[in-house]
């Protein structure tokens, strides 16, 4: 084995290879033996971990794309420019792999394009989500493509894509507003199934606002990981602007989280749900509200005041986890809460394995892109050209 080969097979890459190999086996089982062979899904629980985590969390955590590009190109905060490409890359990969994960969850995956080309259910929220996500994946691909074109030396195509930046950013914000909220609206159809502490006629608003927190937190969290693992790929501009991006986004996240906390309290008051707080579900709800909404909000605020990057980074981890906790609670923990324990859903190990496989695919692809294409640095031939 040569020196380069030895260098390649370090612990991280070996673990990645094992997960990818295991994931391929599970993928074969899923498509050869059917969805029942690998999952605990049934008629009572048709949506499980793949929807609750891969889709709900994936879409929310990919919100960094529209949050960052809107800040930079629509609100003129040019000092966030170096954060746009990494955020767009993450968002594009997030959405692309949401679609990949959806193929596992659909009983007839080959019918994925049906709502768009065969049978449009224009009165269905799922149709709206499907349309928005498919359009937004395309928008994100074009927004991300200049990095690939610069890498491949395709100057003309790159210039065309760059010229489309502003209309694409506007489209991105419009589409995100629509489908982020619609994902919450999907649960409006099940008032009897979702626990009253989470069920609300304002769920679309909650999902949209929390997606902004997810986006800002994810940009900070991803920046932290990139600084640890991909520091060598960052140019001077990126390194210089990194702290400003973290503090600016932390300030935004802190204020949005505080607002989110208050509207959740208003919702409890409007529906008179106080009595549920003293139950087991109430405890879960309070952990979500205080541990993953108020706490990160205060930590972000203290981090911004003290200019303490470490506190901001800790808050970003809580912010990201908070979105996962919220989406898990809505789609699994508090869903079908009145069913007896024996009929409740718990994901099988193989479902968890496929979710880990999808996350590993995202990380591997992100590493492939960022170690080759000008994402964390500016291409020498296009300095200050975008």
């Amino acid at each position: 084995m040569s020196h380069d080969q030895k260098k390649f097979w370090h612990a991280g890459n070996i673990l990645t290879a094992i997960i990818l190999a295991g994931g391929l086996v599970l993928t074969f089982l899923r498509f050869y033996k059917g969805i029942g062979a690998v999952s605990n899904l049934d008629d009572n629980n048709p949506w499980g971990l793949w929807i609750g985590f891969d889709l709900m969390c994936g879409v929310a955590l990919a919100a960094g794309g529209y949050v960052t590009s809107a800040s930079c190109y629509l609100f003129g905060m040019k000092h966030y420019h170096s954060a746009v490409r990494p955020a767009i890359t993450t968002a594009f990969l997030g959405y692309f792999f949401v679609v990949v994960a959806l193929l596992y969850d659909l009983g007839h995956p080959w019918r994925l394009p049906y709502p768009l080309v065969y049978s449009q259910g224009t009165t269905s929220l799922l149709f709206e989500v499907g349309l928005c996500v498919s359009l937004y994946v395309s928008v994100l691909f074009i927004e991300w493509s200049p990095a690939a074109f610069e890498w491949l030396g395709m100057r003309k195509l790159r210039n065309i894509a760059v010229k489309l930046t502003l209309p694409l950013t506007i489209m991105g914000v419009v589409l995100s507003t629509m489908h982020q909220s619609s994902l919450g609206a999907l649960f409006l159809i099940a008032p009897g199934k979702l626990h009253p502490l989470w069920y609300s006629s304002f769920m679309p608003v909650f999902f949209f606002i929390s997606s902004m927190v997810a986006g800002t937190s994810m940009v900070i969290f991803e920046g932290t990981l990139a600084h640890k693992g991909l520091h060598r790929m960052m140019d001077e501009t990126h390194l210089k602007e990194a702290n400003g991006v973290a503090f600016g986004f932390a300030k935004a996240a802190s204020f949005i989280l505080a607002g989110y906390f208050f509207i959740k309290v208003f919702d409890i008051t409007m529906d008179d749900d106080w009595k549920y707080l003293a139950t087991g579900y109430g405890a879960i709800f309070l952990v979500e509200m205080f541990g993953f909404v108020l706490l990160p909000s205060f930590l972000y605020a203290i981090g911004v005041r003290e200019k303490n990057l470490k506190i901001v980074r800790i808050a970003s981890v809580l912010g990201v986890l908070g979105i996962v906790v919220n989406r898990f609670n809505v789609s699994m923990v508090a869903f079908n809460w009145q069913l007896p324990a024996a009929e409740r859903y718990f994901p099988s190990l193989m479902e968890v394995g496929i979710s880990i496989f999808v996350v590993t695919l995202i990380i591997t692809t992100y590493r492939f892109i960022t170690t080759r294409m000008p994402v964390l640095f500016e291409h020498p031939e296009y300095k200050d050209a975008h």
Binding site: F255, G259, F262, F266, M270, D272, A301, R305, E306
Partner: protein, 47 residues
Amino acid sequence: MENLIYTLHDFMLHTKTITYVLMGVALVSFVGYWKFLTGREEKMRKY
């Protein structure tokens, strides 16, 4: 308190009264929170 709620109107009166009070509290708190959040930022010179 629950014994006093007989109609939807009673319910709405009960819940909205509390909500409006909390909204007032929230609006005032937001100003304070914003001051706390931005308190140590350098003031922008406007002259």
